[in-house]
Amino acid sequence: MSTHRIFARPARYAAIAPYLWMVLFFLVPFGFVLKISLSQTAIAQPPYVPVFDFSEGWSAINAAFAQLSFDNFRLLISDSLYISSYLRSVVVAVTSTLILLLIGYPIAYGMARLPQRWQPIAMMLVIVPFWTSFLIRIYAWINILQHDGLLNKILLALHLVSSPVVWLSTDTAMYLGIVYSYLPFMILPLYATLSKMDPSLLEAASDLGSSPRQAFWLLTFPLSLPGVGAGALLCFIPIIGEFVIPDLLAGSGSMMIGQTLWLEFFTNKDWPVAAAAAVALLVLLVPPLLLYDRLQRRTLEGGR
């Protein structure tokens, strides 16, 4: 016990450098986002009028508070472009997460029932795509889905369609891309809870007369709910702010919030509105983030 305490002090000192790094490069930048979301747009470089300058002291800051501009946020809630991109982000994230659960659960369940020595290999096979470039995997799908791509060729050869189907720039392609990219994030937490389950529980259930189906719904599924929660959050949160996949695979008709932010920033050069969109996106993410944080803490620290 005492040695723990002797060790704890230098270990805490070890945290100082990463702590400062994260405060400077993670926490402080959010302050800037907030600050710029409250400032006016300007046609200049950088394209915004600074709200306040810390070098001018408190009086300047107080004066600046009087003229804080909420125009950007007012624009966000009054312009239907922003509202619809918000709704679309939520709809896409919820739909994708449900599809991921439906596809990921059977795969994770199959993995957990594999013979013990094959399980690490299966896990490796699920992790490898996570390591391979995300952009390259989306590009691989563009190869397949394009007008004269492999999918249309196969469908034509099988006489399932009479003329090539338009796959690219559709919601179908976007959902396919999202599901493909996030599948490992869904499978791994599910597999982690399913593989830890005590097989004797299922034996007990069958001894007591329940069918495999009953045993699954009364036992396996409820016990795997923490994995379901972790997997769903791990997919839902990043999908909400997704940019690359909808940009490359979905049509240009309606945008997700990440695309709107990108458009305002890079094309319209309206930094304050982009910053306001980021703040709004962050607000949307706070509840699932807190939930995820609680789950993480429970698994990391409760498991010890």
């Binding site: 060790f7 490069f25 993670f26 059977p106 691989a140 791509g149 940019f243």
Partner: protein, 272 residues
């Protein structure tokens, strides 16, 4: 025992696994095969050829971007591994300290934070600091993201490590720092190596954060690929993607060897 476990696999289980793996791997396999296609038309098979590899090696802009990406990935992965390991030590061995909740929150949040937010917020910081955008700003941005992944990997290894080993070292006269360097560090070294490689590949993969934080004239490889992909499928891109996949595959093999080493070492160290 074995037979009973295989018997537990229903046809449904086997089908789900097989379809799942096919879904994960077929697109990549198709991409790799088509990178060796002689035809300029991406979808017409014109025989095997290395033509597109040859052409992509003559693409000056692409080579510059690749070199920039490799440098950013190497430097950011190194700093991230250092900081992430320190953070993991602080979190696991430091017990409770003031601001621990904030610290762990800051380290978990970037794992799921949409990249558009991380990218935009870092860019606004760099603009406010009047920093020249280019190699270093992208490197700092990638370090911030990837050190969180390093922390999680090293943290879970450290948490599973038997504490009595460090205590024994200290009973034998080591001070805490010596005990860490001589006992703990060698045991977690494979996990540290694996997390360096994870950080490297994550940096090599990122397009969103790099787009925000880079300056004119210093595009990374993913930024170049992204702008080409937006214009459509090109056989050169297939070749470049295949090279990146091959590079990452080599890293994965090394990382998995390292982590196998790690688990076998942990087993051999346990009876000590």
């Amino acid at each position: 025992m074995m037979a009973r476990r295989i018997g537990r696999m229903s046809p449904f289980n086997i089908t789900a696994l097989a379809l799942g793996m096919a879904f994960l791997y077929l697109p990549i396999v198709i991409l790799v095969i088509y990178s060796f296609n002689a035809s300029r038309l991406v979808t017409v098979w014109g025989g095997w050829s290395l033509r597109w590899y040859h052409e992509s090696f003559n693409d000056r802009a692409m080579l510059d971007a690749a070199w920039m990406s490799l440098r950013v990935a190497a430097v950011s992965a190194t700093i991230a591994t250092l900081l992430g390991t320190l953070a993991a030590v602080g979190l696991v061995r430091g017990e409770r300290f003031r601001g621990r909740t904030l610290f762990s929150g800051m380290l978990y949040a970037p794992l799921v934070m949409p990249e558009v937010i991380s990218g935009l917020s870092l860019l606004l910081l760099f603009v406010a600091l009047n920093a020249e955008r280019g190699f270093w700003t992208v490197t700092i941005a990638h370090t911030t993201l990837t050190m969180c992944f390093v922390t999680v990997v090293v943290q879970s290894r450290l948490a599973s490590l038997d504490r009595s080993l460090e205590e024994a070292a200290m009973d034998l006269g080591c001070d805490p720092v010596q005990a860490f360097v001589r006992v703990t560090l060698p045991l977690i070294l494979p996990a540290i190596a694996a997390s360096w490689m994870l950080a490297f590949t994550l940096s090599l993969d990122d397009v969103v954060i790099a787009s925000f934080t880079t300056g004119p004239g210093s595009a990374t490889l993913p930024i170049r690929i992204y702008s080409e992909v937006r214009l459509g499928v090109k056989p050169e891109i297939n070749a470049i993607c295949t090279i990146v996949i091959a590079l990452i595959a080599v890293l994965i093999v090394i990382a998995s060897l390292a982590s196998n080493l790690s688990s076998s070492e942990a087993k051999s160290a346990a009876p000590l």
